[in-house]
């Protein structure tokens, strides 16, 4: 029935329009990325010369080497990796625990606490910028990665996502294990967690992307060059005088390779995760 519906059969002019618009959009999405790669592969003398597409005879990888010479991008990379991995693992753990408790364990005040929690998802994170800075100053954590890691271990969104997921797991599994004498902790780790694998993977990827790409908080909490993250390092690198465009584009490419690799190998999860977040109704 589905395939015979006229919905699926486009008339020829409509088909031409649909394909033209979709491929034009794909082109607009790819062209800037393509051009940044082309620029990075040019030697200094060729950057401002037309044609803007690379001349294979002058292809050069020198700008990639120059990036590491002009700024410690390897260090920025390791800093970012450390912060991102810590936050991602933390969020997965705390969200799974709290999500399970909010969905499946009975305790006084649970639903009230959850409502308060949900309401805080609406608060723009930037509102807390100034007090967070003071708090970290009190803790002596300014210019320390812990100032980014500690608040990054929790996520109201992650807790909500996992709670909604655990609600969909049939209660029978939990009940049966309970009758068999399984304690709460074993029920959680052995029975519920395996069900939640895909949702946790989604949460991990979304968190990874958000932390990896964060800019405002590193700018506020970190100062010294050795502590910088990639986004911060990139922005400051740009601000330095005399940076050549080919070297800057090489730096952009280098700093995005991990996230691109993560996306290409897991795009199914990323895209399903985004659709999942849109399906949540408050």
């Amino acid at each position: 029935m589905k395939s015979t519906s006229t919905m699926n059969r486009l008339s020829l002019p409509l088909k031409i329009w649909t394909y033209s618009l979709l491929w034009l959009t794909a082109f607009i999405m790819l062209a800037p990325l393509f051009w940044s790669v082309m620029t990075a592969l040019k030697p200094n003398a060729e950057i401002f010369k037309a044609p803007y597409i690379i001349n294979p005879a002058t292809l050069s990888f020198k700008s990639f080497a120059d990036v590491f010479q002009q700024a410690p991008f390897l260090l920025y990379f390791l800093n970012t990796l450390k912060i991102t991995l810590s936050c991602t693992i933390g969020v997965a753990l705390t969200s799974a625990l709290a999500g399970y408790a909010f969905a499946r364990l009975q305790f006084p005040g649970r639903d009230f606490l959850f409502m308060v929690y949900l309401a805080t998802m609406m608060i723009p994170r930037q509102v807390t910028l100034v007090p967070m800075f003071m708090l970290m100053k009190q803790f002596g954590l300014i210019d320390n990665h812990l100032s980014l890691i500690l608040p990054g271990l929790f996520s109201a969104f992650g807790t909500f996502l996992l709670r909604q997921f655990f609600l969909t797991v049939p209660a029978d599994y939990d009940e049966a294990a309970k009758i068999d004498g399984c304690g709460v902790f074993r029920r959680f780790t052995l029975i519920m967690l395996p069900f939640a694998k895909a949702t946790i993977a989604t949460l991990i990827l979304l968190t990874f992307m958000a932390v990896w790409n964060d800019f405002l908080y590193p700018m506020v909490f970190l100062n010294s060059e050795v502590e910088r993250t990639l986004t911060m390092g990139l922005a400051i690198f740009r601000g330095d005088a005399d940076v050549q465009w080919n070297i800057l584009m090489a730096a952009v490419i280098i700093s995005n390779i991990p996230i691109l690799a993560a996306f290409l190998s897991t795009q199914r999860f990323v895209i399903s995760g985004v659709s999942l977040s849109g399906g949540i109704k408050g």
Binding site: S3, S5, N8, R9, L10, T18, L21, L22, T25, M29, P32, L33, W35, S36, A50, Y52, L93, T94, L97, A98, A101, F102, L105, L113, T120, M122, I123, P124, Q126, T128, L129, V130, P131, M132, F133, M134, L135, L150, P151, F154, V184, F188, M209, W212, F215, T231, L234, R238, L248, M249, V252, S255, N256, I259, F263, Q267, V270, S277, G278, K281
Partner: protein, 293 residues
């Protein structure tokens, strides 16, 4: 161990939410309360804070720089949200058709900019927007247009920022809309076809009401996010030229961490919070008229 399983569950429940609650109290509840308190103080981080009541807010509303940042933010928000939703919904409707060849490739490609940091995206576009050697003006020159001073003219700077934000955002929205479109029962379209409905009519009478909860979600989150724009404007234009792309969060950043006016910056952040809250509450109210549940 004579505790009933009910009691043990309750104890476990508290233990399970404990890490999250600590984080919540320390890094969200406390800062939100503290920033309200700070907004009523004058403080430069060195001397003792002085209580000034609502003076920060009064000064803020008389500050022409604040109004300019607010106008810029509203300008950015209005166009980036409307274009970001309109274009992505249109693309989702086109891509939803199962007969489209390579639809998953197209979907991934359009989604691709979402994964890159806004700092990287802003740097790439800064190069593209370059008035003399940028790719965009080079292409426009072929059709005898330009050169357009994308980032150097106060009239063009905000549209340029909006272009970049929309370019980065539409893939995200599109994926949410695609999921919503997938959930519309095929029978509804078939029934509409039997009644002789044309494509545009089918969209307005079937698709639009059926996906309205997702549209509402995208609208609310887009507005909240757009009011917090900082990364793109900082890197692409650094607020310029002539402050034409300075935004509220940039102003908060400048006052707090460049001029060390902590109280004043907190007051500005609170005004932003209040605006977002009012818009969201208003949308919630109006949503009853158009969101189908």
């Amino acid at each position: 161990m004579t505790l009933s399983s009910k009691t043990r569950d309750a104890i476990a429940g508290y233990i399970f939410i404990l890490p999250n609650m600590i984080g919540f109290l320390l890094f969200l509840a406390f800062p939100v309360a503290a920033s309200l308190f700070l907004s009523a103080a004058e403080w430069n981080l060195i001397t003792e804070p002085i209580f000034v009541g609502i003076n920060n807010f009064i000064a803020l509303f008389q500050d022409s720089y604040f109004w300019q940042c607010l106008r810029n933010t509203a300008y950015f928000s209005l166009f980036s949200v409307l274009l970001g939703i309109g274009i992505s919904l249109f693309l989702a409707v086109l891509l939803k058709n199962p007969s489209i060849v390579l639809s998953s490739f197209l979907k991934s490609t359009i989604f691709l900019p979402v994964i890159f940091s806004s700092v990287s995206v802003a740097l790439i576009w800064q190069w593209i927007f370059d008035t003399h050697v940028g790719m965009l003006n080079h292409i426009l020159a072929y059709v005898r247009l330009g050169p357009v001073p994308w980032l150097t003219d106060p009239h063009w700077s905000m549209p340029s920022v909006i272009i970049v934000a929309v370019w980065r955002q539409i893939g995200y929205n599109m994926v949410i809309f695609l999921a919503a479109l997938q959930g519309v029962p095929q029978e509804l379209y078939e029934a509409a076809e039997i009644d002789g409905a044309r494509p545009l009519r089918k969209f307005w009478n079937v698709t639009w009401p059926m996906i309205s909860p997702s549209t509402f979600f995208v609208l609310v989150t887009s507005i909240i996010n757009s009011f917090q724009v900082f990364d793109i404007t900082t890197v692409l234009t650094n607020g310029g030229p002539a402050n034409s792309t300075n935004t509220i969060i940039m102003m908060v950043y400048q006052y707090a961490f460049q001029n060390f006016k902590m109280g004043y910056a907190s007051a500005a952040a609170y005004v932003l919070f209040a605006i977002v809250l009012i818009i969201t509450a208003f949308q919630n109210l109006v949503s009853k008229r158009w969101v189908h549940t």
